[in-house]
């Protein structure tokens, strides 16, 4: 088959509502994949990256959120990018590989030669074209995007060992207790349709095993609370680990940024990373101003066209302002995400915070975080429709929707 005939299909795993409560309180209002980073829904970033793949036929989003939550987004992004995007809802969680397998017939409809599989909550530069070229050179069944991290943090991820010359995946282990390697799995993959046979084999093998013996009580204790039905197949433990070292899987290392967006604090960090990427690749998306007709803008800032920002405000670095936000005179915004319809009154100050949809900050209000993206109260998060009254200070706190703060708080969760 000529390269020009080889169609590519992309699959983005978007998860579902019961999976993880770590994105609260923002997840009360919006499914995590649609939460905006650098002014665009989280899932938009991998989708845009897919657009650059030659011969991309279609993009699928697979998850178990309600369909209506994605309906609007999917139709608008399809027309905006001029590429079919479709949301496929799982009836229940099948695991990262199980979900892919569940929809194999639909995915294979275009007869793709390659399938790009991405996790929605990964923040990176998605070097998909280069990865696809590398994958073709390796000639294996699958290629994983990998990155070197610090030895201490490696254990939070899937650690792997790769041959330095052939780049073959030699060994893979998920969240090991002892150090295996500082190279980790980024959650971005390219597979040939062979992957479906592999998943099929795992499922059959598992069924046979279940028929042969019941689990010993020790094995039963080691299982997580999720019952592992035969159709729940995880990519890491069930596919990558067993196939490592069998000349089927290869690695492609990225030297760019990479983060996982598991918590609201991380979404602020990743928003900054994407804003920096816009500066490199699409500077037209960023805002500019010097305080005359437009507000003073420092470094990377995104301001939605419908937002109204007073010229005496100073915005940035690392600020994203969503639709219909009103920012009054003398406001200072730094390192923050201001969500739709929020109102920030005169002379208020925001740093290291996420201000929720329809929230309101009074005059001289100060909403601030310490800027530690890894602790629970490292940035301040205001949920939907939170009111911070004039001159009130909110530091390192999380405030649930619909609260009115008329006294200052620090290091608190306000229900």
């Amino acid at each position: 088959m000529k390269t020009s005939d080889q169609k590519v299909v992309a699959v983005i795993m978007v998860g579902g509502p019961t999976k993880g409560t770590r994105f609260r309180p923002l997840s009360f209002n919006t499914p995590k994949p649609l939460f905006p980073l650098a002014g665009q829904p989280m899932v938009h970033h991998p989708i845009s990256a897919c657009k650059s793949i030659p011969n991309l036929a279609r993009i699928f989003l697979i998850g178990f959120h309600e369909e209506r939550e994605f309906a609007l987004y999917v139709s608008s992004i399809s027309s905006e990018l001029n590429i079919p995007v479709r949301y496929l809802k799982e009836d229940k969680p099948h695991g990262s590989a199980g979900g892919l397998y569940y929809f194999r017939d639909i995915i294979m409809e275009d007869n793709p030669s390659h399938i790009v599989l991405l996790n929605c909550d990964v923040c990176c530069s998605f070097p998909l074209t280069e990865m696809l070229d590398a994958h073709r050179r390796y000639g294996g069944m699958g290629t994983l995007l990998v990155i070197k991290v610090s030895a201490e943090s490696a254990s939070e991820f899937g650690e792997l060992v790769a041959d330095p010359v052939t780049k073959e995946l030699l060994h893979y282990t998920e969240k090991p207790e002892t150090f295996v390697s500082d190279l980790i799995n980024c959650g971005v993959y390219i597979f040939t349709p062979e992957i479906f046979h592999v998943i099929q084999d795992i499922r059959t093998h598992r069924e046979d095993k279940a028929n042969l013996h019941t689990l010993s009580s020790f094995e039963a204790l080691r299982l997580t609370t999720k019952t592992h039905a035969k159709d729940f197949v995880r990519l890491d433990q069930d596919i990558l680990s067993p196939l490592a070292g069998k000349k089927q899987l290869y690695t492609y290392e990225t030297m760019d940024f990479w983060e996982q967006i598991k918590t609201p604090a991380m979404s602020l960090k990743c928003s900054a990373l994407y804003l920096a990427q816009f500066r490199q690749k699409s500077p037209g998306l960023l805002a500019y101003g010097d305080g005359t007709k437009n507000p003073t803008v420092v470094d990377d800032v995104y301001i939605h066209p419908s937002a109204k920002v007073h010229p005496t405000a100073k915005i940035g670095p690392n600020v994203s302002i969503s639709a219909n936000v009103r920012v009054a005179a003398g406001v200072r915004l730094m390192d923050c995400i201001i969500l739709d319809d929020a109102e920030i009154q005169e002379n208020a100050f925001v740093k290291y915070a996420i201000v929720g949809w329809k929230s309101s900050l009074g005059k001289w209000a100060r909403v601030q975080g310490e800027g530690d993206y890894s602790t629970k109260l490292g940035i301040t998060i205001l949920g939907e429709a939170v009111t911070v009254e004039d001159e009130v200070v909110v530091v390192n706190s999380i405030v649930l929707p619909n609260k009115v703060l008329n006294i200052s708080v620090q290091e608190e969760i306000i229900l």
């Binding site: 409560t21 609260r24 619909n402």
Partner: protein, 361 residues
């Protein structure tokens, strides 16, 4: 006769319970909070209840359909599109509250639990001939609230004092009013406070009278008061309807157990416990001063005190929950875990002990 129940807003003080249902539907003594009030109103002949709400009308309306038929009373909603305070909602519901009969109508605050001596209130209202009657209740710390200063013998209200710094009286507004339709002429359809604007005006015309509420009173809008309120409520059941309370060798003090709940061997339940429909309390469990909501399973040898266990949660074997532990809906406390004041949001699993009061999101 008509009544208005001020349901108001988001019930944020009763989170995490109100993350799952609107506040009036949170169970208290094994039935939705608002049902206590609706039943009391039905009992004295109220034919229509209007709920003044501004949040989740669809959830409320669904619930109401069930109870309309079961109770044989008309229930409707009056929805605020902007917050109207404590008096504005009356103006909004005006058409529903006034009819040709010219009878007075009740207004109740939905967070309040009491014995609802509404018949006595009607008699009191008729006897003084004024325009409005309010119930007041005696409290230990009046300066936390709005104090009603009244003439002791007639009950005529002189004035309201908000959070007084010196002692002016120990009676506070209990949130139960009986109003003549003419009161509605005094309230505009805009955010208005009944305590700060409407009542002081009526009091200045010497047309406002206060009656001291007999029996218990509690504002159960937050978990601590909810638990105290349960004790008062069960005390009152002991006095008035003792057959509703549970009996048996494993029961201590006042305990309310739904008939569909199951209790195992060797348990010690009480005092001041409510166990809701479909609950399973396994053997060897100790429960005191707590509410266990619908569908909860308490596993063997667990010990719970001064806590609220939300719908469909489970508490593991040998687990211990105490000191204002509040579990939201579908929370699972693993075996042997200790929670000292953990406040846990819905759909969580607690695998590690919570040694000091903490919110788990």
């Amino acid at each position: 006769m008509k009544a208005l129940i001020l349901v108001g807003g988001f019930g944020t003080r009763l989170r995490p319970l109100t993350l799952s249902v609107p506040k009036p539907l949170v169970d208290f003594g094994n039935k939705p909070m608002i049902l206590h009030q609706i039943e009391a109103l039905k009992a004295i002949g109220v034919t229509e209840v209007v709920l003044a709400i501004n949040y989740q009308p669809e959830v409320m309306l669904n619930f109401l359909k069930d109870f309309e038929t079961k109770l044989g009373i008309k229930i409707s909603c009056s929805q605020e599109t902007e917050p109207l305070g404590t008096a504005g909602p009356l103006a909004l519901a005006r058409d529903k509250l006034i009819d040709e009969s010219g009878e007075p109508f009740f207004v109740l605050n939905s967070d309040v639990i009491s014995e609802y001596p509404l018949k006595q209130m009607i008699a009191f209202h008729k006897s003084h001939g004024g325009e409005a009657s309010i119930m007041v209740t005696k409290v230990d710390e009046p300066s936390k609230y709005g104090v009603v200063v009244m003439e002791e013998s007639t009950g005529q209200v002189e004035r309201f004092v908000e959070k007084p710094k010196v002692f002016v009286g120990n009676k506070i507004n209990a949130g139960i009013y009986l109003l003549n339709p003419s009161v509605l002429d005094r309230i505009e359809l805009k955010p208005t406070s009944i305590e700060k604007e409407t009542f002081p005006k009526i009091a200045s015309e010497k047309l406002l009278y206060a009656m001291v509420l007999p029996g218990f009173w509690m504002d159960i809008g937050q978990p601590k008061d909810y638990i105290t309120g349960l004790r008062l409520y069960l005390d009152s059941l002991r006095k008035n309807e003792p057959s509703k309370l549970a009996t048996g060798p494993h029961i201590v003090g006042n305990v309310l157990v739904d008939e569909s709940a199951k209790i195992g061997e060797g348990c010690l339940i009480g005092p001041d416990v409510a166990i809701g429909p479909g609950c399973v309390v396994e053997s060897g469990v100790r429960l005191s001063r707590c509410t266990v909501m619908r569908g909860v399973r308490i596993k063997k040898h667990a010990c719970i005190s001064s806590s609220i266990i939300g719908w469909h949660s489970t508490v593991g074997q040998w687990a211990r929950a105490e000191n204002m532990t509040i579990l939201g809906e579908d929370v699972h406390v693993c075996d042997e875990v200790y929670s000292n004041g953990g406040v846990v949001l819905p759909h969580k699993e607690i695998k590690a002990s919570i040694l000091k009061p903490e919110i788990v999101m």
